[in-house]
Symmetry: C2
């Protein structure tokens, strides 16, 4: 590979969408399967998900939640229980109609006509209805509340234009489902879990996110209030990275979650739901990746340190491999972010240059080379994924072991700082319509993806205005940002489109 060429082609500024696909491929994170819209998550990609799961799971348990598991299948009639929900989810579902196959007279197999289900089953696109039906059985008295449960599961939403991680027919996620005695408590829960997501995004994914509320048109079907975290990625588009829904009593009424209150009256419970998914992996890639491939925040990297033994000669090979294995063990006994450092030794029988490039493309935070001369000197050559790939520090092995966690934290902090700088540089207050339209119009028609970024603008609250902006610019309100995040965003002004009064600015952007 020459000095000037990058590992990923095209580069980000040439074609961001294609760059993303190439990174997912080159980093061996995932691939499309032969089943339309369904992906295979490869070990390096799944490792990221496992680390996300582990950290989130700890946070969920610390906030009082327990895990459980509910059926994959939802009876058709359940989906129809909540009026808005049916509109939102009934359209793009995988429908199970038969429970047996048989030999087809035409050869091969076919669904057995004699085994048609009386009521078709829908593969869960989300589980509010089936979980609601279960909670209705569990809840009789206020003493049975709150119910604080999370589920790790796969879900299916048929997608016509799938994109690996960001939008696939099947994806992995967690869905929290809670039921409460009072509206206040349910609202607090909705807020609390949004806070968990914001902390997780910042501390683990190195993603600065804006928190806020969705406008009515962007709400979860059936929710009273949808809160979200919104991240900016490098083409300046927004990605909704997590949502927390206050469902009011809508699903409790639809499912019959009723209880006898403290004052002995029958009441409906107040419910919430909240989720993040494998979409976070795509968000991280788009936020931190560079023209050489993935750049993974150490907290979620499948391996944090990769040791590459350099074995030019047979007679020193065994000693080098042994040293590599010892180094791995020593590093694993060090802790980063509360867990042992994740270390991999690349013993594959291929050239060292290929190995190095593989790990660059995969985004391993730290690469360590150890060869016969290093053994003599008691040193290692350390390279960081957040620095130019030729840059290596030669440091003593013991010093490296001692500083490994510090280096990882430096990389983690550096990625967050860089992503924050990018977001802040492209989050702009806009106060008139012409500027607003110009902001979202690409300067170069050959690169239609490069536009302004996030616009903080006043809005009169009208769904018609929202719709018009969407049609004209493919721009939506990402959220009404929570107070205190953006200085001055809560001051009143005039709607950027109509000039009508507005109490506060909202966040507009193109999005994935």
């Amino acid at each position: 590979m020459s000095l000037t060429q990058n590992a990923i082609s095209p580069c980000r500024t040439e074609d961001f969408a294609e760059w993303y696909q190439q990174v997912v491929r080159a980093a061996e994170l995932a691939e499309s399967s032969d089943v339309r819209g369904c992906m295979v998550i490869k070990p390096w990609g799944y490792g990221i998900w496992e680390n996300m799961q582990h950290s989130l799971d700890v946070m969920f348990k610390e906030t009082g939640h327990k895990n459980a598991y509910f059926p994959l299948f939802i009876p058709l009639s359940y989906l129809a229980k909540e009026a808005e929900h049916v509109e939102g989810f009934a359209k793009e579902c995988a429908v199970v109609t038969h429970h047996r196959l048989e030999a087809s007279p035409a050869g091969g197999l076919r669904p057995a006509p004699s085994a048609e289900l009386t009521e078709p089953l829908v593969v869960r696109p989300t589980s509010e209805t089936i979980i609601g039906a279960t909670y209705a059985k569990w809840v009789q008295s206020y003493r049975d509340l709150p119910i604080l449960i999370n589920q790790w599961a796969n879900v299916v939403r048929w997608e016509m234009r799938p994109r690996l991680f960001l939008r696939t027919a099947e994806f992995l996620w967690q869905e929290g489902h809670t039921a409460h005695e009072t509206e206040t408590e349910a609202l607090e829960e909705t807020r609390k879990m949004l806070g968990v997501y914001e902390t997780f995004a910042r501390e683990h994914l190195a993603l600065p996110v804006y928190t806020g509320e969705k406008s009515a048109s962007e709400r979860f079907p059936g929710a009273v209030q949808t809160l979200c975290i919104e991240a900016m990625v490098q083409d300046r588009k927004a990605i909704q990275a997590g949502t927390s829904h206050f469902l009011g009593q809508n699903f409790a009424k639809a499912s019959g979650i009723k209880f006898v209150s403290r004052s002995n009256t029958p009441e409906f419970a107040w419910t919430t739901s909240w989720g993040v998914s494998t979409r976070l992996i795509g968000t991280v890639l788009m936020a931190h990746g560079d023209d050489d491939g993935a750049v993974l925040p150490p907290r979620i990297a499948s391996s944090q340190i990769v040791i590459i033994p350099i074995t030019p000669k047979e007679d020193t090979k065994a000693a080098v491999l042994e040293a590599a294995s010892h180094l791995a063990k020593a590093l694993r006994s060090q802790s980063f972010g509360g867990d042992p450092i994740r270390v991999e030794v690349d013993t594959r029988d291929i050239g060292g240059g290929n190995k190095t490039w593989d790990w660059i493309k995969k985004g391993a935070p730290v690469r360590v080379e150890i060869g016969p001369r290093d053994l003599e000197k008691g040193s290692v050559a350390v390279a960081r994924r957040d620095r130019p790939h030729k840059e290596k520090s030669f440091i003593s092995t013991s010093e490296f072991i001692q500083n490994a966690a510090i280096i990882l934290q430096e990389i983690q902090d550096g990625l967050l700082a860089r992503a924050t700088a990018l977001r802040d540089a492209h989050t702009v207050r806009i106060d008139n319509k012409a500027d607003f339209y110009a902001f979202f119009t690409p300067k170069n028609p050959e690169k239609p993806e490069i536009h302004g970024g996030f616009a903080l603008a006043h809005w009169n609250g009208s769904a018609d205005v929202e719709q018009k902006i969407k049609e004209d610019l493919k721009v939506t309100i990402r959220c009404i940002p929570d107070s205190g995040q953006i200085p001055g965003a809560e001051e009143p002004g005039q709607c950027v489109i109509t000039g009508e009064p507005s109490a506060r600015r909202v966040l507009f952007a193109k999005s994935y």
Copy 2:
């Protein structure tokens, strides 16, 4: 509850099958959902699965495997690729035929006729075919082998007679799928993972299991060899608790997993698959439970120690709750089986007696009561689930904290010893047909479930004899036990049915 009455009715000797259902219900482990054959796994049950997952996952990774994720859906044509596989799995599948719903003219929703899939999709009953198709893309050279991957997933096999945990339409499992360069290596892998399962069953589930090979008629459809672990539960039936399959080149040929060998010739890979499922939870319940409910081995119990604060008076309540919380923290800083001790404080607003019985039924290994008088004395009242429920030891709090892990290990070891004694007492060598038939014939026709247990008998290797025994007695060959487990089982003899020569004894039993 009176002294003589037990918490679960009927008791085990009255009606084992109904006792089991009542334990699952009383221990709040799982319940049937409104979706036929699909269960809801409740938090106390799911916690067991999480602990099993965690421990197995560590063992899989220590043996060189990584996790990945493959699609839930399998194209119909894939399932038909391997001849025996299609026979074994095509019958009882959930079949997706449509990808959209629409309003039905008759009201409600229906699968949209315009959204019928060209090729139906089967919800995975197991993933050999879809994973094989993926590996075929990944493998070109012997350098790409071995592939050592595991998947944690849900699977669906339509069941006409579901039973919670033991046999449900949807269940959770792990499926390992590996591909190797040579037959020897694949056979070694098959054996290695059987060993992992045996160790896991013994050390974590307190289950002594026989390892061995299935007879041809009981093999996994498409396998060359199926190895298994077989456990005895308290009604003396066998449960197949885990399987490891040597698939030869059958699936490699069906899926086209081909590679260029070291000698530059095209070869098919040798593959294996191996799995355990939420069925293990049912096995543990049936093996260790008693007439008061579940008895959970500490290594897998959702909570290992439950603290019950006794708060008779308002003025001492806060101090007791604080002491309980401190005790929980101190216990959590202790380690058992390599992980922090899992502790729960039951602060529910119900009577202490109800709490105690709840935890007995749930099978929490250790219960600790702490009340105002205990605070004064600096002591706690400790009760063990493996001892009579009235038996409490009053020991100093600091001593208890110090000994907590030791107590848990004692309980763990005690359960294994008890289960081993039961199994050994009911594993009998039988050498003639009359005894064999008598062994499997219930003595009391009113209790048709109580029979002899495991019979070690000679068999001539004939599938016809196997079939006859199955028809007459509902007894099958559970396995051809591996050498060295049962003294003398490898000596030659005469078939217990036909008198023909037999090289070794095999294990016969009724089974779940």
